[in-house]
Each structure stands twice: as structure tokens, then as C-alpha cells.
């Protein structure tokens, strides 16, 4: 957009088909980049060989086959699911709060998951000695998901009033509960041994390193269902941009829309965070970029944010696992390094509207 056009408030929007096509293309490129990069050297020829073997169901796997099919590919698929869920949920939250700076963290999913993870890591052996036997390696994931969900439910309940759910109350309750979770984590880190502290720290920094096919399947299914459900939110969220009262006058069931939005977000972000730890800023950046080229219509913003979020996570993870090879950088660190400058740029862009 030229400066003149911007100054008289003109919009130039790309057509929905173009935007979605561009998003899908970016995702494909990121996938190809991710598939061919990694600490373990796999040449293009070898990669084709692996894919061909997998397609034909060949039984004699080479080391390259094992590394790609058991380590790299599940990680790529988890990255797609995570980015899709985070991007879409970010767009939903921004529509719900009517603010482009909103983020799923506002309703407490991340802090609830983090607190539950902290409790599990530090106090788990003492509080629930039976837990690892029943849940095994799924202990931390289940607890984190449960924690995120419970905290979100608490914040939702705190924001209810006779006239329905008040978003202003939800924001304030979210701030308070997030602070409480932070204090809880602080307490846990005082009680923790050195090893527990490091484990917790790495969980908080976020990583796709724990990707295995069972986790991918679980997160993938949850995110897919959440994204499908979110498409029914697109038109109501457009109306809510006019204000909740006006949206109700247009026949939108505002309460039901809010509930559905919160549930969709809680499930998608909860499943992702429980599996990968905290990956920030995707839900903030992806919808912003989509709105800049496609406009604020949620019928495009929701799916396109999912596609762009997935592409961003894949690209960031590829950097995270190659830049310090054979060691890895936690993904959350990378998304923060990219995300914070982006956030500040966004603040500048929106400063006259805040």
C-alpha cells in the first residue's frame, strides 16, 4: 500500500483464493526445507529413496530411513499441527477480544499448563507416586493439558455475570490468574532440585524435540477438530467486530460464540502446549500478517493464520535444530527473538488505535 493510499485509509486486499494459495505454498516450501535439513545429513537422493521405500512399504530400513521416518518426519508433522493450532487460536482470540494484540495466553492456557508441568516435575513423585505407572511417559503431557484446561475454566467462570460473559472481566481475571501461576512457578523453582529446575526450564522454553508418532496423532486430531469447529466462528466473529450488542442485533448468539471460541482455543492450544511446552508469538504474528494482506474478514483470517502459523513453526524449528548442530536451540527462544521485534512493530502500527 502506498503512503498516500494508507493516509486516506484505503484498503488493498488480496483475493481469498490467492491468500490461501500463498499460505499453502509457503507451508509446502517450509515443509520441503524442513524435510531436507537437519543435524543428520541426508542427501536429496537418499530422501527420495526413503520416501519411495515408505510408499512401497519396504521392510529393510537404512539409518537414513530410521532417522527420517522416526525422528524428522514426526517432528515436521508436530510442527504443522502446533503452528496451525496456535495460529488459528490466536486469530480466534483476537476476534473475541476485538483486539489485534490478544493472544491465547490471555485466558490462562499457557500459564495453567506451565504450572501443572511444574507441579508434575517438582512435586510429582511426592504427590502422586502412582501417576507414572498409570500414565507412563504421558504423565507430563496429560497433567499439562489438564492444568491448562482447568485454569481456562476458572478464568471463564470468573468472567461470568448476569448479562453473560464479560470480556473485560475475562482480561482482568486472566491477568490475575496468570500472575498467580507465575508465583506458583516461582515457589516451585525454589523447592526444586537442580535437575528438576533444568527440566522445568527447558519445558518452559518450548521444543518440538519430543515428537513421536503417538503424540503427533493426538495433537493432530485435536487441532484438526478445533480448526474445523473454528470455521463456524468466522461469521459471528466478523459481527462481533461491530460490538457485542450490534452483533446480537444481527442475530448472532454472542454467548454461544464466546463459549465455542474459548473451548476451541483451550483444546487446540492446550494440546499443543502440553506436548511442546510454551511456543510464543505465533498466535500473535500469523493473524497480523494475514490481516495485512487479506483484510480482517475472519473467514479468511482463521484458515490462513493456521497455514501461516504452521509455515512459521516449521521454518523456526528448522533453524532451531540446525544452527547449533549437533545441539538444539529451544524453539520458544527462537520464536521470542523473532516475535518480540514483530510485536513492537505491530504496536507502532496500531498505536493510534489503542
Amino acid at each position: 500500500m502506498s503512503a498516500t493510499a494508507a493516509s486516506i485509509g484505503m484498503t488493498r486486499r488480496l483475493a481469498p483464493r490467492t491468500v490461501l494459495g500463498a499460505g499453502a505454498t509457503l507451508l509446502l516450501l517450509a515443509f520441503v526445507l524442513g524435510a531436507s535439513s537437519g543435524a543428520y545429513a541426508i542427501s536429496t537422493a537418499q530422501l527420495w529413496g526413503v520416501l519411495r521405500d515408505a510408499w512401497q512399504g519396504v521392510v529393510e530400513p537404512s539409518p537414513e530411513h530410521l532417522v527420517f521416518m522416526n525422528i524428522r518426519l514426526p517432528r515436521l508433522m508436530l510442527g504443522i499441527a502446533a503452528g496451525c493450532g496456535l495460529g488459528m487460536a490466536g486469530a480466534v482470540m483476537q476476534g473475541l477480544f476485538r483486539n489485534p494484540l490478544a493472544d491465547p495466553g490471555l485466558i490462562g492456557i499457557s500459564s495453567g499448563a506451565a504450572l501443572a508441568a511444574g507441579v508434575t516435575i517438582v512435586l510429582g513423585a511426592w504427590l502422586w507416586p502412582v501417576l507414572p505407572r498409570t500414565l507412563g511417559s504421558w504423565t507430563l503431557v496429560s497433567m499439562a493439558f489438564g492444568g491448562g484446561f482447568l485454569v481456562t475454566l476458572l478464568i471463564y467462570v470468573l468472567s461470568r455475570s448476569e448479562s453473560g460473559t464479560r470480556m473485560a472481566l475475562m482480561l482482568l481475571a486472566g491477568i490475575a490468574i496468570n500472575a498467580l501461576a507465575g508465583a506458583g512457578l516461582g515457589l516451585l523453582s525454589v523447592m526444586a532440585t537442580d535437575e528438576q529446575l533444568r527440566s522445568l526450564q527447558f519445558w518452559l522454553l518450548g521444543s518440538l524435540g519430543g515428537a513421536r508418532w503417538s503424540a503427533v496423532a493426538l495433537v493432530g486430531v485435536v487441532v484438526l477438530l478445533a480448526c474445523a469447529a473454528s470455521l463456524t466462528l468466522a461469521a459471528p466473529l466478523n459481527a462481533i467486530a461491530l460490538g457485542e450488542s450490534q452483533a446480537a442485533l444481527l442475530g448472532v448468539d454472542v454467548e454461544r460464540t464466546k463459549r465455542r471460541a474459548i473451548v476451541v482455543t483451550a483444546f487446540a492450544v492446550g494440546a499443543v502446549t502440553a506436548t511442546t511446552g510454551i511456543i510464543g508469538f505465533i498466535g500473535l504474528i500469523a493473524p497480523h500478517w494475514v490481516r495485512m494482506i487479506a483484510g480482517p474478514d475472519h473467514r479468511i483470517v482463521l484458515p490462513a493464520s493456521g497455514l501461516l502459523g504452521a509455515a512459521l513453526v516449521l521454518a523456526a524449528d528448522t533453524v532451531a535444530r540446525t544452527i547449533l548442530a549437533p545441539a538444539e536451540l529451544p524453539l520458544g527462544v527462537l520464536t521470542a527473538f523473532i516475535g518480540v521485534p514483530m510485536f513492537l512493530l505491530m504496536l507502532r502500527h496500531y498505536r493510534h488505535r489503542i
Binding site: I8, G9, M10, T11, R98, N99, P100, A235, N238, A239, I240, A241, L242, G243, S245, Q246, A248, L249, L250, G251, V252, D253, R291, G295, P296, D297, R353
Partner: protein, 267 residues
Amino acid sequence: MSALECIDAGFQVGTKALLSGMTARLLPGRVYAILGPNGAGKSTLLSLLSGQRRPTHGEVRLDGLPLERHAPAALALRRAVMPQESSVAFDFNALEIVTLGRLPHRTAPEADEAGIVDSAMALTDVAALAPRILNTLSGGEKARVHLARAMAQLWHPRPGGDTRWLLLDEPTAALDVAHQHATMALVRQKAAQGVGVVAVLHDLNLALRYADEVIVLGQGRAMVQGPTAKVLSPALVSEVWRTPCELVAGRDGAPQYLFGGLQPSAT
């Protein structure tokens, strides 16, 4: 006969009664103006009539059924509200905002939805503003965009014969003179097509020229409803608005008030 009525309706916030004892019967095909000084409760009354607020006492009924018993989606097909002001989130352009007026019809769209939106925007003279971001427009331009949206929402008569209602909260407040009269003429046209129009106005002269009936609210006095010229007598006007006024007739015979100047002599 289809009607929008309030029966002894009141709205109380805490211990403060913003409105009480409202009884009015509004018929389709007529233009009603709600008048009164600031703080008299005009917008509150309109919000009771639109269903945005539920009365704390009494009832508001449409076609004999209380508003809250009507399905919101069904109501949205026949009742549109133009707000006094609204802050729109994100950078929606004017075209997208007016298109939102067609949202209630998304399950049963007309053949030419885009055409309806274009026509509505042409009616309120905002067609040229289509690609402009709403939040960058002037107050008057925004008002006309919201009016176009309300128009689009009620574009075609309902197939089942349900009456349509257009409720406007201070539609002329931000408009220049030309657009004020154009807007009021437009709503008269709509009334002529069978739509029931209720507008909160603060300009008595517009009411005198364009409204069939007025509802006058005043602090600490009962509301008055009736034909415009009859209700807006000099005695009532000077009592409710506490300003010296003089009733004159324009060259076309329409009564108008002149305000300010000397107190009328006590006769």
C-alpha cells in the same frame, strides 16, 4: 394489526430508574420520533424497543409476543438498528461493514447479495467510500455507512409478510444539513414501503417536517405520544426544553420552531 408496543415498561439500574411507565403503540408504515432533552432516556427507550435491553418492569411486545420470546435470528431478519456510535475493531472497510448487514440472511441469501449492498450504499451516498477503512472516516461518513448497513439488513420485504422495523439512534447527529434531510427523506420513503421507523432525534424541526408521530420524554414528567404537530405545542416545547421558542410556518406551510431570543410573554 402488527405493532411494536411497550406496556408500562421501565428500566432501572440499581436504585435509579432511567425510565418508567412507558406505554406506547407503534404501527408499521409510519415514522415515529423520540424526542426529549439530554438524559431523558431516549436511547434507553429505543434500546428497549429494539430488544437490546430487557425492561426491568413491564413488557415490550412485537406482534403481541414479548421481544425475548422471539428468536434472535428471526428478529434480525425484520428489525435493524442504526447505532449512535460504534467502535469497530480491525480495519474493516465500508463495503465489508455494510455487507455485515446481510449476515442474518446468510442461510437464505438473495440472488443478488452484492447488488443489495451496492444499492444500499448508493442510497446513503457512501458508494465512493467502499474501499475506505471505516475507522478513518469522519463521524458523518461513519453514520451513513451504518445507516446503509441497516438498510441492507431490511432490503426486501419478508416473504411471510412480517413487518419490518428500522430503529435509528440519533441518525442525524453527526450529519451535515444536506445529509440530515436526505436521511429523513429516505426513512420516510421506507415508511411508505411499509417499514415501521422509530428514530431518536434531538432536532424538533426535523421531527416536525418528517415524523408522523412523536414520543416526548422529559425529566420527571409522563411521556406524551401523539401526532407531531399536535403534541409539539409551544407550551409543551418551552416546558420540556426550557428554552424560549417561537412557532413559525415555512413557505411550504410546514411548522418549524425558532429558538432563543426573548421569553414569550405570559399569556
